[in-house]
C-alpha cells in the first residue's frame, strides 16, 4: 500500500453487504451496501426515522441485523459473542445523550474500560485518560462527577472515554443534537481535530458545516435506504435526487 495516497487507501475497514433489518414487521433498513476505507470520514444525514442511527448502531451490534453481512476490521458480526466483543473493543461510540456513568468520576469513566476490558494497569490507564482529557480540553474536571458538568463538557468526556480504548473506528450518533447552541461548537471542534488525526469516522449529524469541512463522503438516507452517496462538494451543490434536494432545501433554507 502506498503511503503517498494515505487519504484514499484501499484498505477496507467496514463492509456492509445487502444488509436488512426489521423491527417486528417494520422494515427499517433496506438492502444497505456500504464500504468504508481506513481513515475515511463519513457523514450520514437524513430525516428523522430514516434509519441512520439504526445503521451505525448495527456496526457495533447495539442493534442486530437479520440479513446480509457486516464485516468490521475483518471480523464478521454474527451471534458469536466473542466476535461482538472483539468488534466493540475496536469501535468507539459517542451517543446523543452522552451516556456517561453518573456514579463514577470523569476519570473513572475514562479508565473503566481500559482497566477491565484491556487489563491495563490502573496508573497507566489514568495517565492515558488524562492525556485524552487534555486533548478534549477538560483535564481540570477529572475528579468531578458527570452530573456537575455542562452538556458540552459531558459530551467531550464521552469522546475521551471512547478514545481511551484506542479504537480504530469512531461512531458518532447525533453527538450535538442534545446540546445548547453555545456548546455545539466546542464538541464539533473536538471532532474536527480528531478527524484531522486520521481516525476512521462515521458520523450521524445535521451539522452541515461540519460535513463540508471534514467529510470525505456524505450519505443521505430516507425510509431505510441509502438514497445518495457523494463527496460533500457535489452533495451540497449538485444533489442528484429530488428527495435529497428537498431535504437540503429544508435544512439549509433558514
Amino acid at each position: 500500500m502506498s503511503e503517498a495516497q494515505s487519504n484514499s487507501t484501499t484498505e477496507k475497514c467496514i463492509e456492509i453487504r445487502n444488509m436488512n433489518k426489521w423491527y417486528g414487521d417494520f422494515h427499517v433498513l433496506k438492502n444497505i451496501n456500504l464500504e468504508v476505507h481506513k481513515g475515511e470520514k463519513i457523514v450520514i444525514c437524513g430525516p428523522s426515522g430514516s434509519g441512520k442511527s439504526t445503521m451505525i448502531r448495527c456496526i457495533n451490534r447495539l442493534e442486530e441485523h437479520q440479513q446480509g453481512d457486516i464485516i468490521v476490521d475483518g471480523t464478521e458480526l454474527t451471534n458469536d459473542l466473542k466476535n461482538i466483543d472483539a468488534v466493540r473493543r475496536e469501535v468507539g461510540m459517542v451517543f446523543q445523550h452522552f451516556n456517561l456513568f453518573p456514579h463514577l468520576t470523569v476519570l473513572e469513566n475514562c479508565t473503566l474500560a481500559p482497566i477491565w476490558v484491556r487489563n491495563t494497569p490502573k496508573a497507566e490507564a489514568e495517565a492515558t485518560a488524562m492525556e485524552f482529557l487534555e486533548r478534549v480540553k477538560i483535564p481540570e474536571q477529572a475528579n468531578k462527577y458527570p452530573g456537575q458538568l455542562s452538556g458540552g463538557q459531558q459530551q467531550r468526556v464521552a469522546i475521551a472515554r471512547s478514545l481511551c480504548m484506542r479504537p480504530n473506528i469512531m461512531l458518532f450518533d447525533e453527538p450535538t443534537s442534545a446540546l445548547d447552541p453555545e456548546m455545539i461548537k466546542e464538541v464539533l471542534d473536538t471532532m474536527v481535530s480528531l478527524a484531522e488525526e486520521g481516525i476512521t469516522m462515521l458520523c450521524v449529524t445535521h451539522e452541515m458545516g461540519f460535513a463540508k469541512k471534514v467529510a470525505d463522503r456524505v450519505i443521505f438516507m430516507d425510509e431505510g435506504e441509502i438514497i445518495e452517496t457523494n463527496n460533500p462538494h457535489d452533495f451540497f451543490d449538485n444533489p442528484q435526487h429530488d428527495r435529497t434536494k428537498l431535504f437540503l432545501s429544508q435544512i439549509l433554507g433558514h
Partner: protein, 367 residues
C-alpha cells in the same frame, strides 16, 4: 423602569432579605403559614400538653425501676422492675446461662462485621470485609455449637438473639438472592426467566405464616424419612426466600429506572455482561432502590415476630408469655411498650442509615 445601580457585570452578590432566613422565618413557614395551619399547630400543642405530662409521670416520676416482686411496684406508675427481672429472658431466650458468653461474643463480632459492611472508612476494610463474609459461619458456630463447642439446640433460642439471628440472616442472604432473581427475571434465556417469575409470583402470593407452617410441618413430608432438619434453619430459609422475592421486585424497579443508554454505553466499550452489571448497572440500580430495599429489610425484621405461630419465642413471644405470669399480673402495657421500643430503635436505625447512604451516594445526577 428603575435606574441601573451597577454597571453590567459588576453586580455584587447581595444577602437574601432578612425575613427569608432564621428562626422566625422557620416558624412562619412551617407552623403558621396559613390560618388553618396555625389552628392545627395550636391544637397539636394543646394535645401534647394533655398527653405528655401524664405519660412522663407514669413512665418516669411514679415508675418503679428496681424491685424483686410485684408488691415492690407502686400503684400509680409503670412497673419497669418486671422488665429488669425478665431482662435476660428477653435478650437470650432460654439459652443456657453458663453459655451466654457465646451469644455476647457473637453479638460483638456481629457489630464488627456490620461496621465493616456499613461504614466504608473503617481501617483495613478489605480484610474486615473478608471477616464479614465469614461471619455467618462463625456466628452460627458460636450460637449453635459443635466442632469443639457444646451444642445448643435451636429450640432454646429466643428473645432478642432470635430476632437478630433471623433478621441478620434474612437481610444478608435475601439481598444477593433478590438481585439474582431480578437479573434472572430479565434474562433472555426462557428457562431462567420463567423459573424466576414463577418463584417470585408464588412466594409473593402466599402469606409468610403459611410458609412458616409449611416449614414447621410439611417440609418433613418432602424430605427423605429419618432426616432431621433443624426447625430454626427451616424458618431461616423460608424467611430468606420470602424476603428475596420482594427484594427481587424492588431491585427490578431500580433496573428499569435506568436509561437504556447506560447498558449501551457499557456494551459499546466492550464490557461483557457480568462486568456491565457489576460495574455499571447494579451500582446505579441498587442506589435507586435503597428506600425499597431498606423497606423490605424492615418488613422482614418485624415479620420475624411471626415465628411465634410455630412455637419460637422472639421478644414479642417472650412478652406474651411474661404477661401471663400469675406472679406479675396486669403489666401488659409495660411489656408491650418495651417490645415496641426495642423494635422501633432497630427499625429507625435502619431507616436513618438508608438516608445517610442515599446522601453519601448522591453524585449530583438528578434528571
Amino acid at each position: 423602569m428603575t435606574e441601573r445601580t451597577y454597571a453590567p457585570g459588576t453586580h455584587p452578590d447581595l444577602p437574601p432579605p432578612s425575613d427569608t432566613i432564621g428562626l422566625i422565618h422557620w416558624l412562619k413557614a412551617n407552623l403558621f403559614s396559613s390560618p388553618v395551619n396555625s389552628v392545627v399547630t395550636l391544637v397539636a400543642i394543646y394535645l401534647l400538653y394533655l398527653a405528655l405530662p401524664s405519660a412522663f409521670n407514669w413512665l418516669f416520676i411514679d415508675a418503679t425501676y428496681v424491685g424483686e416482686t410485684r408488691k415492690d411496684c407502686a400503684q400509680e406508675g409503670a412497673c419497669m422492675a418486671f422488665i429488669g427481672e425478665r431482662f435476660n429472658l428477653f435478650v437470650y431466650g432460654f439459652y443456657p446461662a453458663e453459655l451466654r458468653w457465646r451469644v455476647n461474643l457473637a453479638a460483638i463480632l456481629l457489630a464488627v462485621a456490620g461496621a465493616a459492611v456499613l461504614w466504608d472508612k473503617i481501617p483495613a476494610r478489605k480484610h474486615m470485609l473478608k471477616f464479614a463474609l465469614a461471619y455467618p459461619f462463625i456466628g452460627a458456630w458460636l450460637l449453635s455449637g459443635g466442632f469443639g463447642l457444646e451444642s445448643v439446640g435451636t429450640h432454646l433460642f429466643g428473645g432478642l438473639m432470635l430476632t437478630l439471628t433471623i433478621g441478620v440472616t434474612g437481610i444478608a442472604f435475601s439481598l444477593p438472592l433478590g438481585i439474582l432473581l431480578a437479573l434472572g427475571r430479565q434474562s433472555q434465556l426462557p428457562i431462567i426467566k420463567y423459573f424466576c417469575i414463577a418463584f417470585i409470583e408464588f412466594i409473593r402470593g402466599v402469606p409468610l405464616i403459611t410458609l412458616l407452617f409449611v416449614a414447621s410441618t410439611m417440609l418433613s413430608y418432602f424430605l427423605p424419612p429419618g432426616t432431621t432438619f433443624d426447625l430454626l434453619l427451616r424458618v431461616l430459609i423460608m424467611v430468606t426466600l420470602f424476603a428475596s422475592a420482594y427484594m427481587a421486585e424492588v431491585v427490578r424497579g431500580g433496573l428499569q429506572a435506568l436509561p437504556k443508554g447506560q447498558l449501551e454505553a457499557a456494551d459499546s466499550l466492550g464490557l461483557n455482561y457480568s462486568q456491565a452489571m457489576r460495574l455499571i448497572i447494579l451500582p446505579q440500580a441498587l442506589k435507586i432502590s435503597i428506600p425499597g430495599i431498606v423497606n423490605t429489610f424492615i418488613g422482614l425484621y418485624k415479620d420475624s415476630t411471626l415465628v411465634i405461630v410455630i412455637g419460637l419465642l422472639d421478644p414479642l413471644g417472650i412478652g406474651r408469655a411474661s404477661v401471663a405470669d400469675s406472679a406479675w399480673l396486669g403489666l401488659s402495657t409495660e411489656v408491650y411498650l418495651f417490645v415496641a421500643v426495642f423494635f422501633f430503635i432497630s427499625c429507625f436505625g435502619m431507616a436513618r442509615y438508608s438516608l445517610y447512604l442515599e446522601n453519601k451516594l448522591n453524585t449530583g445526577h438528578k434528571r
